[in-house]
């Protein structure tokens, strides 16, 4: 069994970036048939934010693939056939390319009156960043997510995670589902839009409030964070680092008791988070001394038993390949077979306990013939399109 919530939907994926392709994949995770168009003959920006083959292995899984050469005149007919039987189009082509192939929002509504269209651009059409080229660094500079390691120091981009792109993918799916709910309820067909810029704001927005008369708001530069006692990364006797999160009063007290400092646990001088911040470094020196005498497994077992949030600090995400929780839950999973097999992040949600049906990303154009025949084209028509290079399909087994 797998998730089949959207099994009545066909989605056409005309995307060229990780964010766009990931949005389309989420529809596939929910059970929709997703037909990815590998487009040649379309001018996309020469930059480093396009979909790499590696990223495609993750973002394009569970889809079918049709390769279309948009430089050919007949490509628009093939696209129209595909869109004619689709419920939803997801694309990230940008305003200029979109208009160039007749896909400006609303422009194709007469031909496809029930098609919901979702556009995911890098920057919105107006506001901060509008007019700038696609760039991960300029995105972070504009939004304010760069890290200042020290007051007065130079900023550096967050590099451990792709800021904005995964989040924007979820927004594109929400826009599409909202528009589908609206279509189902009212018959009104809509265009949804979002941007990686909006996706970049969301992860940074928790707890950020700006008020004109907030005299203490710091919008001029970074502020050094104060340590919180019983909360932080600590090095164990075996050289492993473990994050101990004694956040609540109870959790902090549990850490103290395990470390043999019952009097600190009971001392009202440390009875709240704000008090534990005042003495954070001193408290953490005590915790560090305790932790440094323990093996990491022992420390983790003790803290888990006391219901203190704790985790070993993994050097890489790939270490989770050997982690029973990550593998048992399907959050990390093997995709594909033989030489094409890879470990990937797996299920991102479950429905009634079921996980998405995860199939390997197809080779570009792997399903061109089958998809077009399913649309009603005869074998002769498909062969003619192949011969004239309008569509292509690799030899079986090629990637």
């Amino acid at each position: 069994m797998s998730i089949s919530l959207l099994s009545d939907l066909t989605v056409v994926d005309l995307t060229t970036t990780p964010a766009g392709a990931t949005a389309a994949r989420l529809y596939a995770d929910l059970g929709a048939r997703v037909i990815r168009i590998e487009a040649t003959g379309i001018e996309t920006p020469e930059d480093d934010v396009g979909l790499s083959p590696e990223a495609g292995l993750v973002a394009n899984r569970s889809k079918e693939s049709v390769a279309i050469d948009f430089a050919s005149r007949e490509s628009s007919d093939v696209l129209a056939r595909l869109l004619g039987q689709a419920d939803l189009l997801v694309e990230d082509l940008g305003a200029e390319v979109r208009a160039g192939i007749g896909l400006a929002c609303g422009e194709h509504r007469a031909a496809h009156p029930s098609l919901v269209h979702v556009a995911l651009d890098w920057w919105p059409e107006s506001g901060a960043g509008a007019g700038l080229p696609r760039s991960r660094e300029l995105l972070q500079a504009t939004v304010g997510t760069m890290v200042f390691d020290a007051p007065g120091g130079a900023p550096r981009p967050v590099s451990a995670v792709p800021v904005g792109e995964p989040t924007a993918a979820t927004f594109a799916v929400m826009a599409g589902l909202s528009a589908l709910l609206r279509r189902d309820a009212t018959g009104v067909v809509s265009c949804g839009s979002t941007s990686v810029y909006q996706g970049a704001i969301q992860p940074a927005s928790t707890g950020v409030v700006y008020a004109e008369d907030d005299q203490e708001a710091d919008t001029t530069g970074p502020v050094a964070r104060r340590a919180l006692g019983g909360f932080g990364p600590f090095e164990c006797a075996d050289g492993e680092w473990v994050f101990v999160a004694g956040w609540t009063d109870r959790q902090f007290q549990a850490v103290c008791r395990l470390a043999g400092y019952d009097h600190i646990a009971e001392d009202p001088a440390y009875g709240s988070r704000s008090l534990r911040q005042e003495t954070g470094e001193d408290l953490n020196a005590i915790v560090a001394a305790w932790v440094s005498g323990l093996q990491s497994n022992d420390l983790i077992d003790q803290l888990r038993s006391a219901r203190v949030p704790v985790a070993r600090i993994a050097q890489t995400t790939a270490q989770l390949i050997h982690d029973s929780h990550a593998v048992e839950t399907g959050m990390v999973t093997q995709v594909g077979n033989g030489a094409d097999q890879s470990w990937q992040i797996g299920t991102v949600f479950e429905v009634a306990g079921e996980r998405p049906d995860i199939r390997p990303a197809p080779a570009p154009g792997a399903d061109s013939i089958a998809v077009l025949e399913r649309l009603g084209l005869t074998s002769d028509e498909v062969s003619d399109l192949l011969r004239r290079g309008v569509i292509s399909q690799p030899e079986r087994g090629a990637r």
Binding site: S135, C191, Q198, P203, T206, V242, F243, H325
Partner: protein, 392 residues
């Protein structure tokens, strides 16, 4: 019963959501439902959501985590540890369309409020659960926080062997887990509209973090840590006014243009020459001149508050304002997406503790004397009493 002032499309208008969440991971999902037009009722314990209690200088006893995550909702207080409170809570959930919660798996079952029970009474209920570690697996019943899950998922890095590991500087799972859950719940809602069947959607902070970490490539055991740009002309430069400007002269055309601007010739300048040029003018002037020459550049904002200050009042994709009952106009995260160019964001502030308790319970059919009895037993708290409870 329009309580909140809302703008934009309201595709979920008429939908009632019970939101039993704390802190970030669940409250964001409830906010999204509210901003799509649903009537979202945030249920807090008498001592308040822990996000509310994370005090801040400006808002005092209302933590900004709460302010952001719970805007556009109504708020009531029910103590589910009180038998009457527990029964009332069940009554509200069974009268709702969607139930959103972020308790640790197993906790609601202890109160007889697990999905199995609720769905046996109300088969068309959609429940969204956003836990820390996931609905199943060896760690599922452990407490989970964002930082711990960053550590577990490989997001914390050491700059050098022996150095203290540090996080990526941005929220991952707390932010993304509820978004993935909302995606699933919206799809479930569409299916319910077609079939009348409810379901249980689960996601987690860990799944959100892994979604962030693993989108751009398969997992490779010989994975190298990513590092910041090593291109000296795709780098930050300090301007005369102390602000930083990120110059992204990656492409040959941009390097030539930068050369023209900095040294009057098309040869790409050195980083030192670019730094000297930027340092001789304000950030705004440098960005303007660079832009005029076709060199991509942007001022490096010091934080999201900096962006909100710049965009307040004229860019709803960046920030929208809500009127706080005590502090006046506050600016928080803007619209996440638009449909036909219209944003979904609404403009109601996060509720005060117990602000809508009486109002909501009356709407759910309780008589005034029943509400009073519940208040007397401590099963519910209304705003008028919440200050006393908080003080106590």
């Amino acid at each position: 019963m329009p309580i909140l002032q809302q703008s934009g499309h309201r595709v979920l208008e008429g939908l009632r959501v019970i939101d039993y969440t704390v802190m970030i991971a669940g409250s964001t999902a409830g906010r999204l439902f509210a901003e799509l037009g649903a009537d979202v009722i945030h249920v807090e314990p008498p001592y308040g959501d822990d996000g509310r209690n994370s005090t801040t200088k400006f808002l005092g006893s209302e933590g900004t985590i709460f302010t952001v995550g719970n805007r556009s909702k109504r708020g009531i207080v029910i103590d589910i540890r009180n038998p009457d409170g527990r029964d009332l809570f069940e009554r509200l959930v069974l009268a709702a369309d969607v139930f959103i919660e972020n308790t640790t798996p197993g906790v609601l079952e202890k109160f007889g409020l697990g999905y199995e029970h609720l769905s046996s009474v109300k088969p068309d209920l959609i429940q969204l659960s956003v836990s820390g570690w996931g609905a199943t697996g060896p760690l599922s019943r452990d407490p989970g926080y964002e930082v711990v899950i960053q550590a577990y998922s490989g997001a914390m890095k050491q700059d050098a062997p022996g150095e203290v590991p540090r996080g990526p500087g941005i929220l991952m799972g707390d932010s993304t887990g509820p978004l993935l859950g909302t995606v699933g719940a919206l799809a479930a809602l569409r299916r319910r509209n077609q079939t009348g069947e409810g379901t249980h959607v689960t996601s987690s902070v860990l799944q959100g973090a892994l979604f962030q970490m693993g989108t751009h490539a398969p997992l490779a055991e010989d994975e190298q840590s990513t590092s910041a740009s090593a291109d000296p002309l795709n780098a930050p430069f300090r301007a005369k006014d102390g602000a930083w400007v990120w110059v992204a002269a990656k492409r040959p055309a941009a390097r030539e243009a930068l050369g023209k601007l900095v040294q009057g010739q098309t040869e790409a300048p050195t980083a030192e020459q670019a730094a000297a040029w930027v340092s001789a003018r304000s950030a705004a002037e440098a960005v303007r001149q660079l832009g005029d020459m076709g060199v991509p550049a942007a001022r490096v904002r010091a934080g999201l508050g900096d962006l909100f200050r710049d965009m307040a009042g004229h860019d709803e994709l960046s920030t929208i304002g809500v009127t706080h009952p005590e502090k006046g106009q506050l600016w928080t995260v803007g619209s996440h997406f638009e449909v036909d160019g219209t944003s979904f964001a609404s403009r109601a502030p996060a509720p005060r503790l117990g602000e809508h308790t009486r109002e909501v319970l009356t709407e759910f059919g309780l008589r005034a004397d029943e509400v009073s009895r519940l208040e007397e037993s401590g099963a519910v708290v209304d705003l008028r009493d919440s200050a006393r409870v908080a003080a106590g």
